[in-house]
Symmetry: C2
């Protein structure tokens, strides 16, 4: 058998890598301009075409433009963030408080992507051993949407500092539906050249060579060609 | 402020959407051709550029070409799959047994992407409320790699029918490191035109309109423009 001959053109391939490289977790650069229906539809379809365990498609999309709902969610964030801030001391506490960690009210659109844990019945193919596979599938959908948004010039920020039970209440979620990702969406004044937490000195990017192992955990990367290739790209 | 002027060309944007549309969970079409080091390096870098909570980068990459390790993992799969098959009866049981659900030995390369749950210390920014955010971050990395692989003509299959404790043992993982995704990688004879589980009648794609809600769960999509846009794309 020969290799599939449906290869990508250089600019198609570059488009994907560019989205991967230039995608940011946006908190501060949102503009109020509305996201048109056709753009939003492409983003939702991108998410819906993610892989899912047993083709379960456990996701739903709650599109939120109501100011009232966003204010409720913002209040949940504020309480959780105060709890989180109390974990830090000294210089780190000061830096934490200066970081802007969400754009719930400034972005024109919020989107909650949920996971219906009962979808597809009691025995979902491929979810017998790892019961979290449905949540993981929803994350794959989030990343599809995040990359598509970058290609459309739309910024996305994932707000993870939320009490999920309170969030589920605010969005009237049924018992078996878990709010995996609460996202802020909107056009942006700029996509920052590097991740904000890196630029502000919170944490550095790890050298990828140190993260690659050979066959088992305790055997570090021992392939000189791969090591050099890793150094030379992206 | 004006919108960021770093827009994608039509073919760059199409490249991303094409990868999203044409990505498949590959089990049966692997070719033995090796994946060159520079291609593998681009895939790993794509994963490493995923977003992660608090810039935690909790992932490691175990690149597995050893036949011995793959045979151990294949034995774990076989046991788990027998357990899983016992959940089905009648026609569904017959269909389940006919499905090929992994390519561990046929693909030239396996890759385990793990999550180091202690990386970044006890208080990871953004992980105070949702402790699974590190696992979710690893899933975002998986999807980056999966899409990049499609753009490179490389097929990827996620094997989720594995006992994670036995897998962790086979790969010598330390206690705090969880094997999120066990992937098979390789060039393919073809990328199937539709997901295999859909083509074989296991489950259908859900109509996306039924998955979109307005502001809260109990309010269905009520935006005619968005509904029409959703019908017309991808």
């Amino acid at each position: 058998m020969t290799k599939a001959d449906n290869s990508f053109s250089p600019s198609e391939r570059e488009g994907l890598y560019r989205a991967i490289r230039e995608r940011r977790d946006v908190r501060s650069q949102f503009l109020p301009d509305p996201v048109p229906a056709d753009v939003l539809a492409r983003l939702l379809q991108a998410a819906h075409h993610a892989p899912s365990v047993g083709f379960m498609q456990p996701w739903d999309f709650i599109v939120i433009d109501s100011r009232e709902v966003r204010q409720q969610v913002h209040a949940i964030f504020t309480r959780e963030n105060e709890r989180a801030a109390a974990n830090y001391e000294g210089e780190q506490a000061g830096l934490y408080k200066r970081l802007k960690l969400e754009g719930i009210l400034e972005s024109p659109l919020n989107l909650c992507i949920t996971c219906d844990r009962k979808r597809g019945g009691p025995h979902v193919l491929g979810r017998n051993s790892i019961v979290e596979m449905d949540l993981f599938s929803v994350c794959l959908a989030v990343q599809n949407l995040w990359l598509a948004a970058r290609a459309e010039g739309v910024g996305v920020g994932w707000v993870s500092i939320l009490d999920q039970q309170q969030l589920a209440q605010a969005l009237h979620l049924p018992d078996d539906v878990y709010p995996v990702a609460y996202l802020c969406l909107g056009y942006v004044s700029e996509f920052l050249p590097t991740p904000e937490l890196e630029a502000k000195g919170w944490r550095s990017r790890l050298p990828i060579q140190s993260l690659v192992h050979s066959n088992v955990w305790d055997a570090p990367l021992d392939n000189a060609e791969l090591e050099e290739a890793l150094r030379n790209i992206l």
